[in-house]
Symmetry: C2
């Protein structure tokens, strides 16, 4: 088994943040990210990058954080007693992009690494992450390209990796109170260590590296689609579902808010503008209802 190389993970994540921001700036064409560096009282800090009111991106955030401490909170060790009495480090890159144009999907990606150490014992560690797509007006070509990129990133690591992480993504990004998927999915994984450090790290990198080349061409292809108030209204209502998921269900968001994380960095994932209407739903037979009828169903996009 290869040794756990923490500095290499950190170096990768910082570089990934740089590369993704550069690619998104090119995709936007005019705006650039501004950076806020911050420190965490209990140990560590982060580098938050935000873009607002770009030509294409209405609001986007790409956050790097690295937090550490002497002791995990009781809530963490209750589930994993093997972590008690260990120092820990958690680091990751997390991003959400909300475009102006309702024909450009919202997207989210995250890669993360956790390690808990104790003198004289093997470190306990795992990787997690994934990426997923939330269109307003679905497009099969985009879904296929997105899932093909996901599959290509996973395939070198085993025949069943894509299928497992794709299913995990469908299950995770599900609004239980509406029995509704958040979007058309992608990949989600957690607790990855069974491949050993080197291969697990390589799989996480493969997925992190795949995000921008998968998302930017979709942005490029859809960003000039004409739209009006009707499409904007649909997008704003659908963004309400995004808020509901992130604030009610998303583990990272809730853990961050409850554990005294940096609120503005955590909530930069929320859309810039949102609407809620009582019993809001698209009229049957419209371009809007197609999202529900065709796209918000668990689908094997590579066979569709």
């Amino acid at each position: 088994m290869s040794a756990v190389d923490i500095p290499a993970v950190k170096e990768y994540l910082l570089d990934l943040q740089n590369r993704i921001c550069a690619a998104l700036e090119v995709a936007d064409g005019t705006a650039s990210f501004r950076e806020d560096s911050w420190d965490r009282e209990g140990g560590g800090g982060g580098r938050t990058r935000v873009m607002e009111s770009g030509a294409v991106i209405e609001k986007g955030g790409v956050n790097f954080s690295h937090v550490f401490g002497d002791k995990l909170p009781g809530s963490a060790t209750a589930h994993r007693p093997e972590l008690a009495g260990r120092t820990f480090q958690a680091m990751g890159v997390s991003l959400v992009i909300h475009p102006h144009n309702p024909y450009v999907p919202t997207s989210h990606a995250n890669v993360r690494f956790f390690v808990a150490e104790k003198e004289g014992e093997e470190p306990v560690w795992w990787f997690g992450g994934g990426f997923d797509l939330t269109p307003y007006y679905g497009n099969k070509e985009d879904c296929r390209a997105w899932h093909q990129a996901a599959k290509d990133a996973c395939d070198p690591f085993g025949d069943d990796v894509y299928a497992r992480y794709k299913k995990w993504c469908d299950e995770y990004f599900h609004l239980k109170h509406r029995d509704e998927p958040r979007g058309v999915g992608g990949l989600f994984f957690d607790d990855l260590n069974e491949l050993g450090f080197e291969q697990s790290f390589a799989l996480m990198q493969s997925i992190g590296d795949a995000f921008a080349p998968a998302y930017c061409p979709i942005v490029e292809q859809r960003k000039d689609t004409p739209y009006g108030e009707r499409q904007r209204d649909f997008q704003l209502h659908r963004r309400g579902r995004y808020v509901e998921f992130n604030l009610v269900f998303d583990r990272g968001t809730l853990f961050g808010l409850q554990s005294g994380g940096r609120t503005e960095s955590i909530l930069m994932s929320l859309p810039p503008e949102v609407r809620w209407g009582y019993d809001w739903k698209p009229e049957p037979g419209t371009e809007e209802s197609e999202l529900y009828d065709v796209y918000l169903k668990p689908t094997e996009w590579l066979e569709a």
Copy 2:
């Protein structure tokens, strides 16, 4: 001790919903509530009333619900083992009003009753509820009138009731992740049974009855205040805090969503339109920052 009169509570709540809706229709001047009646699979149902795009009220919901069952969920009896093996009923009226004009505060009120019964044993029961005000542009006169109405409703039931319920409200409607109050408070109470059924029911009625006469005059007085895009933008960003509170902290919302409650009735509390900006905050020295500097601090409004 007086006998528990469940039908009387239900009759009061249905009538209260009618009276509050009638008062709010007068306050709005043009729009009326539409009603959705619904049944709950496990037992019970409700009467949801919603107003959208009124002259004054941008979105408002006044919900009555009465749910019952043979058996409480394990999560409820874990905290209160005396409830195990009992049938239960929960009923209440809950409302949130989001006005168009940023000079009119948002308001929330709720009164509720819970009872768990078992043949041959005394019923276990309690009342809960309260009301609170969330201004965008604070006004001391409104805060004083609001809290005076709260105090007047409580005073017949004991000298310390207002002070206790006012403090409970400040503690409950607090956004921990921002260390920020939701608004200027009012009343919050729960587990009320120590006065015996008759007096506890009377206190809950006193608070329920006080809401509309406290809120409607504030609406009347502020609804014609001129405003522009600047005030609207401030209101929409502040509404983001309202969403954060309701989806991350509000016990009723979370319990409802997790226990398979009727999603549209629970989430009718969400504002019709909302904005989030990264690290958004008002500029120091503005009319907007006054909300934070003066109003979003725990204050004894009757002494201010």
